[in-house]
Symmetry: C2
Subunit: 210 residues, 2 copies
């Protein structure tokens, strides 16, 4: 991201008079993006509408933030890129995807950037607006990518994705926020082995007890 | 609870001069109880220490709030009584306990008193002190009762209970706070059938994938 951040500043915006490269302009774009993603959802939001709301040229939004997916991640301060992570989770075979998904989340959360993810969860709980953004993020950036690649019955996909979200979010809540032992200090191996089969069943197994 | 709330007021407390039956006194007892349960935990807290911290006679605490369990529930504004609910969940046989546990939680949360439970979850996320109280509550009032009656390997009990908490809390978070669809509007039957087997495995099944 640093090349974008450090790029020479383009000419002044004709509509607002703000210098486009200033922190004010970047912040105005991010604020407009958060509004748009929360109000219209990810799919109905375009770079063009965000640019119009921020009073800048669409090319400037692209210049600073790249694609719509990247703008969404920047607007939510998401420290990792699902477009890279999700394929890695799905690469190793369909039957271990549950365990690998849990392990990947734990790796991110336990790392230095994990604090930002936990802060986002906290914020979503106290703020309906962040909750809407998080819901959009989970649905369009994570769950959609996961289920697209697993060749699932499309009619079951929303429920499967939602159930995965309950287990993953609950794991984060108990491990990092409520800090319930022994979940809070269990090893990633233990949690991947115990919670992984749940995520696996939600994704690819029979949904109801046989 | 109304008989206690409406009971004739005892004589004035000699130590503080407050009228023991006044809302102030009740609130002072509840505040002292919250402090004690959060700081020392449920097991190490006694009615006597709460009474001393509130500057009232222990008999008055018993008079207004009953047992230590009931004082804990009152201090946390817990709208249901785990001492009644948990045996009901466990009554119908070991093999359906997962599904019945999910169904019981949904029944409480979906009911008018459920808003208090969701408020508690929100508060626990933003407030370390409430998180500690909730952790104590989950551990000593719910999980302990559940596992005591299921005849489990004591060495596995803490992890099993913690895993159940991740799934149940995550279900509450997604259904009532983040409102992720279709989890938010799924029927209790659908959720009991799909999430129940997870809770069942965490409680009585093999913990790791076979």
């Amino acid at each position: 991201m640093s090349p974008r951040r450090d790029a020479a500043e383009p000419t002044r915006s004709r509509r607002t008079g703000r210098r486009p490269g200033s922190p004010d302009t970047r912040e105005a774009i991010l604020a407009a993006a958060r509004d748009a993603f929360a109000e219209r959802g990810f799919d109905a939001t375009t770079i063009r509408t965000v640019a119009a709301a921020a009073g800048v040229d669409p090319a400037l939004v692209h210049h600073y933030f790249g694609t719509k997916e990247e703008l969404f991640r920047a607007a939510m301060a998401i420290p990792v890129d699902p477009a890279e992570l999700v394929p890695r989770v799905l690469a190793g075979g369909r039957d271990e995807v549950g365990e690998r998904l849990v392990r990947t989340f734990l790796t991110v959360w336990d790392s230095p950037v994990g604090a930002a993810a936990v802060a986002l969860l906290r914020s979503a709980v106290s703020n309906q607006w962040t909750a809407r953004l998080l819901r959009e993020f989970l649905t369009t950036q994570i769950l959609r990518r996961v289920v697209d690649q697993l060749d699932l019955d499309p009619a079951e996909v929303p429920l499967r994705g939602g159930l995965v979200a309950t287990q993953i979010a609950g794991l984060a809540l108990m491990r990092y926020v409520i800090r319930l032992e022994p979940v809070a200090s269990a090893s990633p191996d233990t949690l991947a082995a115990t919670v992984g089969p749940t995520v696996q069943r939600y994704l690819t197994g029979p949904l109801e007890a046989s």
